[in-house]
Symmetry: C2
């Protein structure tokens, strides 16, 4: 795969570490995580292939860097999506619950290769760090609490809320992306999830 070399004014790039990640994201988006080439990334930035090794010990490390960047971006995007439905009333709270899943699905649909990078075994999480610390998990927790608070969801079903909602949305996105379920299944899933969790 040949990539056009980009010219550069100074010998030093200035912000190569960040540029490498940005460029890698661009190429992974286009060619998939398993087809990322370090040389192509360097070439895009008009930099020699070995320059990258000053910031990342190897290709895997760069990919992990990309993963961290994307996880943060994904969480931020989910937080922002909630702002569309402010308020403590039942309707708004239910909308927020749906919107979390939808935002996740929409992002993954637009960026299937980036989603694959995050969950296809290219960057596994550090063991020992609990998922409770995960910001996106906290968002879901909070929204479920609010559902119970405003009486839109029975307390009895609350304890299983996070895991059931999180896993089913994750699974639906995966299966739809890989062609095992039609896109239309996603709204069906949200319907079923609400019904099963007693959200009404």
């Amino acid at each position: 795969m040949s990539v056009a070399r980009v010219s550069r004014t100074s010998y030093h790039h200035g912000n190569l570490e960040e540029a490498l990640i940005t460029s890698a994201i661009k190429l992974i988006r286009k060619h998939g995580p398993d087809n990322l080439s370090l040389r192509a990334v360097a070439s895009e930035l008009g930099v020699s292939p070995s320059a990258a090794y000053h910031y990342f010990p190897d290709k895997d490390s760069l990919i992990h860097g990309v993963g961290d960047h994307l996880f943060a971006e994904l969480t931020q995007m989910m937080e922002k999506s909630l702002e569309k439905f402010p308020g403590k009333n039942i309707k708004a709270t239910k909308s927020r619950f749906r919107e979390i899943g939808r935002a996740y699905f929409t992002w993954a649909s637009k960026e299937p290769n980036l989603f694959r990078l995050l969950f296809g075994g290219f960057c596994s999480m550090d063991r020992g760090k609990s998922h409770k610390e995960d910001s996106s998990f906290k968002i879901l927790e909070k929204t479920l609490d609010e559902l119970v608070e405003c009486g839109a969801m029975p307390k009895k079903l609350r304890p299983y809320g996070e895991v059931l909602a999180w896993t089913s949305v994750q699974g639906a996105v995966t299966l739809i992306l890989e062609g095992h379920l039609p896109k239309s299944s996603f709204e069906d899933l949200l319907d079923g999830l609400e019904l099963a969790l007693g959200v009404r």
Copy 2:
């Protein structure tokens, strides 16, 4: 990566196509789907690298062959796991429902790299072929029908059963494999799934 060459008696291998798949599975299991080397596969079989091109037009094609093989194996494994709980009574039927998910999870835990091959974007399904034709989907459908028949699950929740059960198990396995959820979450999920689907 250097692999020991295996000797061969005859010039013709005899069953190279199948052997290539078997050998590829072995290496993917060990080194992950993104680290499969055609040359290593050939070397394992004591065959020249170019021999593979008589059966597969390229590496991707071999990987797809592996995927088909594994999907069939996975379905067969799930079917067999149901035989452990025969009978139409409530207890047996509920056990079968749980066992489908558990068998899936157990397989993925033992073979994380093979699971990643199947759902990490390495072999997407042919569009146009509906998931209804999928054998593993049919197994789940049948088991859910049996749950309703024996009165262990309300009819009202039945329509969402497949998608909810399938996606949540799929998602749980993915998230646990990539370190976003602890292993113990899986049994929690099954509990929650049963509670939410009204299985009792």
